[in-house]
């Protein structure tokens, strides 16, 4: 747990220090990828609560979900299919669902 928090802090620090900036055109993709990874993280939390956490599933899900979401939105832009909003909706729904389940586990435990 502490290691995870340290990792998060290091990541934020790197992001702030790093001179790379995302071009305006790609900030949409990054936001979708971010949402997908957030979804993966909450999903991971939930599975950890259920004692079903699988490292491989979590990590592969994290990267593949994020990349795939960004890629689909990118392709959708060229096909004039606005997958951006679809992705936002789908991931958003899942995040809130997972949050609700996590909350219930916490309530059960304490």
């Amino acid at each position: 747990m502490i290691l995870a928090l340290v990792g998060l802090a290091v990541g934020v620090l790197l992001g702030v220090i790093c001179p790379v900036t995302v071009p305006l055109a790609y900030s949409k993709l990054l936001s979708v990828a971010l949402l997908a990874s957030l979804d993966s993280v909450f999903g991971g939390f939930r599975s950890a609560m259920e004692n079903k956490f699988d490292n491989t599933v979590f990590i592969s899900g994290f990267f593949v979900n994020a990349l795939l979401a960004a890629f689909l939105v990118y392709v959708g832009d060229y096909l004039s299919i606005d997958l951006y909003y679809v992705a936002l909706l789908a991931f958003g729904l899942r995040i809130f669902q997972n949050l609700a389940i996590i909350r219930r586990y916490f309530l059960k435990k304490y």
């Binding site: 747990m1 290691l3 995870a4 928090l5 340290v6 990792g7 998060l8 802090a9 290091v10 990541g11 934020v12 620090l13 790197l14 992001g15 702030v16 790093c18 790379v20 900036t21 995302v22 305006l24 900030s27 990054l30 936001s31 990828a33 971010l34 990874s37 957030l38 993280v41 991971g44 939390f45 950890a48 609560m49 004692n51 956490f53 490292n55 979590f58 990590i59 994290f62 994020a66």
Partner: protein, 232 residues
């Protein structure tokens, strides 16, 4: 509390990537907010403020210069020049000429254009008034200068690039009797226009006002020549 069974390092790595993305996105959003549309509004409003300040400053300068005491002769010369150039409103005795389109309708096959006022009708009247010694002239509130045009603009007339519709009111300052006589003399303008039914009404007045020229004086091409530079 929560048991991640394996791979603490990989989870830390994932969290690091997540944090990195967070920070990147945060910065991108910040930059977006600082970018074009927002900046443009701020820049424009700043420029507007600056321009307004500049305008007020210049207006203040104008007032200052206009109110600055010069010698009496200078002030008089300036006043006379302003009157001549049309920069100042004028008042005095004169005539008010009102011209309106003909009330008689054109017969079949006749040109309707004959019965409405044209620029040359108005020009004839004004020329006659000038010949009779009119000192200041205006057409529908537009002061006539040396550079004023009078021309047809569709069904309206354009004077000083301002359009107006009939009836046209020409104000002329000068000797009322002479001005009236010049228009109404036998074979004169009034008689010619009456043939076509165009209504021309001349009213003398002891005190009438001719407005100042409302536009700006700007010479793009003409420059004043100093007296000694004039070639013989």
């Amino acid at each position: 509390m929560i048991s991640f069974k394996q791979g603490h390092i990989s989870i830390a790595f994932v969290c690091m990537v997540l944090g990195f993305m967070f920070a990147l996105q945060f910065r991108a959003t910040l930059e977006q907010k600082a970018s074009l549309p927002y900046q443009r509004v701020e820049e424009l409003s700043a420029r507007l403020l600056q321009t307004e300040k500049e305008r007020d400053l210049l207006q203040g300068k104008i007032d200052e210069l206009q109110n600055s005491p010069g010698s009496l002769a200078e002030v008089r010369a300036i006043q006379e020049l302003r009157l001549r150039s049309g920069a100042a409103a004028a008042e005095g005795p004169g005539v008010v000429v009102t011209i309106d389109d003909s009330k008689t309708t054109a017969k079949a096959g006749e040109n309707q254009n004959l019965y409405i006022i044209h620029d040359d009708d108005l020009l004839k009247v004004i020329n006659e008034l000038r010949a009779a010694g009119a000192e200041a002239l205006s057409v529908n509130g537009q002061r006539l200068l040396g550079t004023s045009e009078i021309r047809c603009a569709g069904p309206t007339l354009s004077v000083n690039n301002v359009r107006s519709a009939p009836p046209y009111e020409i104000r002329a300052i000068g000797d009322p009797a002479t001005l009236e006589g010049a228009l109404k003399m036998r074979g004169g303008v009034a008689e010619t226009l009456k043939v076509w039914g165009i209504q021309l009404d001349v009213r003398t007045s002891d005190n009438l006002q001719v407005p100042a020229y409302k536009g700006s004086f700007q010479f793009k091409y003409a420059k004043a020549v100093r007296p000694q530079e004039v070639t013989p």
